[in-house]
């Protein structure tokens, strides 16, 4: 919504600078999104009237004048001869500049002395003003010029102004009008709101009554509770006057012609959308002397061409304005081509009505047709304003397009709305705002907004001000947002000024929420992974169905109204997002990347229970949200270093597994089994699963190079994704101290040749089953293939540590235990123990 500073000043006095106005509006809750100054022509030049003209004491050809500039008197020295006391002239004030001539610097007027006498400005010739008139001396203005009036305004040209672009919150449709904004300013300043006087001189009123020229029949009172019609006869369609056109232009409305411009002007001024019909294009029913406006629902399949030339297919939910034979407007949204004002229009029917907001909104949405009119009606127009706005439009049409006004108005308003009444308790004001206000103060604030007290018990003489007595207030019809007590309290807060409400220190309170500990666990996961050298990533929740299908052939959760096919499903996994991030990094030559992400993934569960369908109806596929943790690695394992055999080593699968093991241990999840995935997988080249008892925690592996290629990733990529909800549920953070071993350990190493297919896990199981006495730990320290190892075999070397918590072991007893293990390995795994 755009308004201008000068336009506002027509309705209320205030002497704020443009910047202060912006600040005050902002603090009233009307956010100023933009403010632009329009440098008008003739800035600083005003109409002035010469009061006296005397000879200059020191110069024959100069005169010394006193002039009235509208605000006071000034002394001016002047060299022209063609004027006398009483003449009205153009006066340029000190500080202002004369219009520049092409190629010349503008000339700025200062207070100066001319032949020893001070001159506070300069009276101008037409040449000096850059006007075409050729006069020897000053430009003498018409008698009707008003001292103090900007000269540009006198000429009918646009003066300097400031245009504000305001953000109006949807609850305040009354602020979509200049008068609405002015009313707020009036409330703050305490200055009165000046509404334009709307009267029609008798000589502009025709003898005919409008009721004899048009009828109104509302068929659906719910959708149109009020409809008024007025008729101006004998107009001449022409461009609107300059002042109106320039004003409309400033606030971004295209000028059409005088009548249409008036309807727009009144809408911007008052907030009431109007429509003007060419009266002669409304058809009377056969046998009737005059047309009837019928307000009705559209018929199934009815079609209608709106003003913009579009043919619209209507449905019975939409409201039409029609005559007896055909529709003429889409009520509250847009007029029809068949009845619009045109160059031949002579008689104008002014519609000023109130339409049901929800219905307008539905129609506008369905037809995808948004207009200034629908915008206002769908937010709620002022039902009390219809008649006034119609009268105001008639007045301006008579002024700008001539003609005469048919007497009276047709005002179909079958059930006039009662003003809403709201009771307000001062105690509640204190409860909510924390400030103590008396009933009188509250009443004063509200009355400034035209919210008047409806009833108040008479107070006994001499009784103290009833500080806490509830009052009942009448809500004016333009304030559709005020519905209950708390709404009035907000108004009190606005006018009192929220900046004046004192802050109070935060108070203690108790409370708990199950998510509180989840939040902490998240922090622990992050701390661990950051410690492992990974960077935290945040991926998009919305990804493409193609990316989602890389991992799962279960259909992902689809959006019904996606923005694009790149973001049309909810991620079923964090991995596609991490792949995007890897691609982004590698394409920017960050080749070495280790990322992790914590986030939710979304999947369907048939017949499950979710927030969206708590009933778990089997018809609706429920959506589950699961917290996951994912890791992605590519490129070099360690930061760049300048020496050492491993300095260029790239990440491999055991880096990833090591991180997972370290993380799981730190996080308190024990007993996780890593195993090769039972089924081949097109996403991974090689992959494994993490199993905790019967729970599958997740999977990890090396990305298939075919997919890596699609993501432009040249180094091997290692990925893991775990179910964090399960991890959090299964973790054990209980810690208890174990005494430090007091007796020395004894170590025995074994190096053995094993078939390739024998896993480390199989070795460990075999050792475990041998149950050697006092075995404290077994550690794999070498795996070797190649020299001296036959194909199909591998050499694995283990360190066994034996120790007793109670005594120092002897070599002999350790040897006995160890022999048992070696024997078992030979027997069960065909191990060939090498001499070391």
């Amino acid at each position: 919504m755009k308004v201008t500073l000068n336009w506002l000043k027509q309705y209320v006095d205030f002497d704020w600078s443009p910047e202060v106005l912006s600040e005050r509006l902002t603090m009233l809750g009307i956010e100023v999104e933009g403010m632009s100054k329009i440098g008008g022509e003739f800035e600083g030049i005003v109409v002035a009237q010469v009061i006296t003209r005397d000879k200059h004491p020191n110069a024959d050809k100069l005169s010394l004048c006193r002039v009235n500039d509208g605000k006071g008197e000034r002394q001016i020295v002047c060299g022209a001869q063609n004027f006398k006391a009483g003449d009205k002239v153009a006066l340029i004030l000190p500080g202002a500049s004369l219009p520049a001539r092409p190629g010349a610097e503008p000339f700025t007027i200062k207070v100066g002395r001319i032949r020893g006498v001070e001159s506070q400005g300069m009276m101008c010739s037409p040449q000096e003003l850059g006007l075409p008139d050729h006069v020897d001396g000053l430009l003498i203005l018409r008698e009707d010029a008003i001292p103090g009036q900007p000269f540009a305004e006198y000429l009918g040209r646009s003066g300097a102004d400031v245009v504000y672009d305001l953000e109006i919150t949807p609850n305040r449709p009354d602020l979509n009008s200049v008068i609405g904004i002015a009313r707020e300013i009036a409330a703050v300043t305490g200055n009165p709101l000046r509404l334009p006087e709307v009267t029609t001189p008798d000589d502009k009123t025709s003898g005919r009554a409008v009721a004899d020229l048009v009828s109104v029949r509302i068929e659906d009172v719910e959708l149109c509770p009020r409809y008024t019609a007025r008729l101006v006869e004998g107009v001449k369609i022409a461009p609107a006057p300059d002042w109106m056109r320039s004003l409309l232009e400033k606030v971004g409305v295209r000028s059409i012609n005088n009548v249409v411009d008036v309807t727009n002007y009144v809408m911007l001024e008052s907030g009431q959308p109007l429509h003007a019909f060419d009266y002669h294009l409304l058809k009377a029913a056969e046998g009737k002397s005059h047309p009837t406006i019928v307000v009705r629902r559209a018929r199934e399949g009815e079609r209608f061409i709106t003003l913009d030339g579009q043919e619209r297919a209507l449905s019975p939910q939409m409201l039409l304005i029609a005559d007896e034979s055909r529709p003429v407007a889409l009520g509250g949204v847009m007029g029809g081509q068949n009845s619009e004002i045109n160059l031949n229009t002579v008689d104008v029917l002014i519609e000023s009505a109130y339409f049901n907001p929800s219905n307008i909104r539905a129609t506008s949405k369905k037809l995808d047709l948004r207009t200034e009119s629908s915008y206002r009606f769908e937010r709620g127009a002022d039902i009390g304003l219809c008649e006034w706005a119609s009268r105001r439009a008639a007045q301006l049409i008579l002024q700008t397009a001539g003609g005469t006004l048919a007497a009276g108005v047709v005002d179909a308003y079958p059930q006039p709305a009662e003003p809403r009444q709201i009771t307000l308790r001062p105690t509640k004001v204190k409860d909510l705002l924390g400030i103590e206000l008396s009933s009188d103060q509250i009443e004063e604030y509200l009355s400034r907004l035209e919210i008047k007290a409806a009833s108040r018990k008479p107070r006994p003489v001499g009784a103290e001000s009833p500080a806490s007595e509830p009052g009942t207030f009448r809500v004016p019809s333009f304030r559709v947002d005020l519905k209950r007590e708390v709404d009035l309290i907000e108004e009190v807060a606005r006018l009192y000024g929220v900046d004046r409400i004192p802050s109070t220190e935060p108070r203690g309170a108790i409370g708990a929420n199950p998510f509180d500990s989840v939040h902490d666990q998240y922090a622990q996961v992050r701390a661990n992974l950051v410690g492992l050298g990974l960077f935290e990533a945040q991926g998009q929740t919305l990804i493409s169905d193609a990316a989602a299908s890389l991992l799962s052939n279960q259909g992902p959760v689809l959006l019904g109204n996606p923005l694009s096919s790149d973001m049309n499903v909810l991620r079923p996994s964090l991995l596609p997002g991490l792949l995007d991030s890897l691609r982004h990094n590698v394409s920017r030559k960050n080749y070495d990347v280790g990322l992790f992400e914590l986030g939710r993934v979304f999947n369907h569960v048939k017949g499950g229970e979710t927030a969206a369908s708590p009933t778990g109806s089997s018809l609706v596929t429920a959506v589950t949200e699961q917290r996951n943790l994912a890791i992605a690695l590519t490129g070099q394992r360690a930061p760049v270093f300048w020496a050492g055999p491993e300095r260029d080593a790239k990440f491999d699968i055991y880096d990833l597994k090591g991180m997972l093991e370290e993380f799981l241990e730190q996080f308190g999840v024990r007993g996780v089994v890593f195993a090769a995935a039972s089924q081949p997988d097109s996403f991974f080249l090689e992959s494994g699963v993490l199993q905790l008892g019967k729970f599958e925690l997740g999977h990890f592996g090396q990305l298939s190079p075919l997919i890596a290629k699609r993501y432009d990733l040249r180094d091997a990529v290692f990925l893991a994704e775990l179910n964090l909800d399960t991890l959090m549920a299964r973790r054990n953070v209980t810690k208890s101290f174990r005494a430090l071993a007091a007796f020395p350990p004894i170590r025995r190493d074994i190096a053995m040749l094993l078939p390739e297919g024998t896993t480390h896990e199989a070795v460990l199981q075999t050792i475990k089953q041998a149950k050697p006495a006092n075995l404290e730990s077994v550690e794999l320290f070498d795996v070797f293939r190649g020299k001296n190892v036959a194909a199909g075999l591998k050499s694995m070397a283990y360190a066994f540590t034996y120790r007793s918590p109670e005594r120092t072991l002897t070599d002999a007893e350790v040897n006995t235990a160890h022999e048992k293990v070696v024997e078992q390995l030979k027997q069960k795994l065909n191990a060939v123990v090498r001499d070391s």
Partner: protein
């Protein structure tokens, strides 16, 4: 006797000189053997001690012992010297060479900001809460006093899930964390003090200031006699914690369907002035609308409360001077390393 002692002093001097001259530990060992070994010169001298006359033995023994101690001590200190010398690298280390680093990762800047916000709230007794991101219309809109045809619903362009089956449009991606207010109040009686960080979704095309996914933090406080003053006090506390003690806060009347009165919060600090602005909008807030209380079964005559919410990206952008919201979701390591 005289001959014996005459030999002692030169032998000692010779041993000390040779200890000193030994170039390395092996050389030193040779020297040691040549003097103190079983066939060494000093050992040989020692053996002569027995052949001395009885009355000369004590004095000679004393002298020999003192020299022996002296030699052992000199040997030991020379050995330490040579050990150190042997341990030294061939060339001294260049301490300006880069170290071998074990890189730590970094938290995402959105996480750091969220953690800071949560920490400030926890200091004053708030607990963290959350709810589903796939929401229903009731919790996201209706319960928050935003009925279906409410114009405010226009401002929030919502993603809906496509629903196979009966085709009804029930599930949506929450457009704000305020839905969690409702979920918590449905389950819990006042007093309530929660802070809700989380992901939210709006149907905006990605550009420098928009991403369809972003994060918000919501605060809700319900108790007896909670006032606008409490709201102001808490907001001031939290923002000073977050943006520095010199931060100033102002409230402007605004409109949200679920609070009444409603305010927008602007803040002012060195950061905003660096951006060329005195005041920068940072959050929305207000007193919980009585209708919302009624919807969750709280009596608005007994309980009052406030709620406020703000965008985490916006705070992070202001705090770190980040000019494009998309950077948060690209996860470029050069970006992530900076925070």
């Amino acid at each position: 006797m005289a001959g014996f002692l005459d030999e002692l002093e030169p032998l000692k001097a010779a041993a000390l000189a040779e200890f000193k001259a030994a170039p390395d530990l092996a050389g030193l060992e040779q020297v040691r053997v040549s003097f103190l070994g079983s066939h060494g010169r000093f050992t040989a001298l020692l053996k002569q001690l027995g052949s001395l006359p009885k009355e000369e033995k004590p004095a000679a023994g004393k002298a020999v012992n003192s020299v022996k101690l002296e030699l052992e001590s000199a040997l030991s200190s020379r050995r330490s010297e040579l050990e150190l010398q042997a341990a030294l690298p061939k060339e001294p280390s260049d301490f300006t060479l880069p170290g071998r680093r074990r890189g730590l990762g970094k938290l995402h800047p959105l996480t750091s900001v969220t953690e800071d916000i949560v920490r400030s709230f926890r200091k004053i007794g708030f607990v963290v809460a959350d709810g589903p991101e796939v929401e229903d219309e009731y919790h996201c809109f209706d319960a928050l006093n935003t009925p279906a045809d409410h114009p405010a619903r226009d401002a929030q362009d919502t993603f809906y899930l496509s629903q196979p089956g009966d085709g009804r449009q029930g599930s949506l991606l929450r457009t704000h964390t305020s839905s969690v207010q409702i979920r918590v109040m449905e389950k819990q009686q006042p007093p309530v003090r929660i802070i809700v960080p989380g992901r939210v979704y709006r149907r905006d095309n990605a550009d420098a200031t928009h991403n369809p996914t972003f994060h918000q933090v919501e605060g809700l406080y319900v108790d007896r006699n909670v006032t606008v003053g409490d709201l102001k006090g808490t907001v001031e506390f939290v923002f000073k914690e977050l943006m520095g003690a010199e931060t100033r806060i102002r409230f402007r009347p605004h409109y949200f369907s679920y609070t009444e009165p409603s305010f927008e919060i602007d803040f002012s600090s060195a950061l905003t002035r660096k951006m060329g602005k005195e005041w920068l909008e940072i959050a929305g807030c207000g007193m919980v609308h009585p209708k919302v209380f009624e919807n969750v079964g709280y009596d608005p005559e007994v309980w009052t409360g406030w709620a406020f919410g703000f965008g985490i990206e916006r705070i992070a952008m202001i705090r770190y001077g980040i000019n494009d919201i998309r950077l948060f979701y690209e996860n470029d390591v050069r970006f992530l390393k900076q925070f």
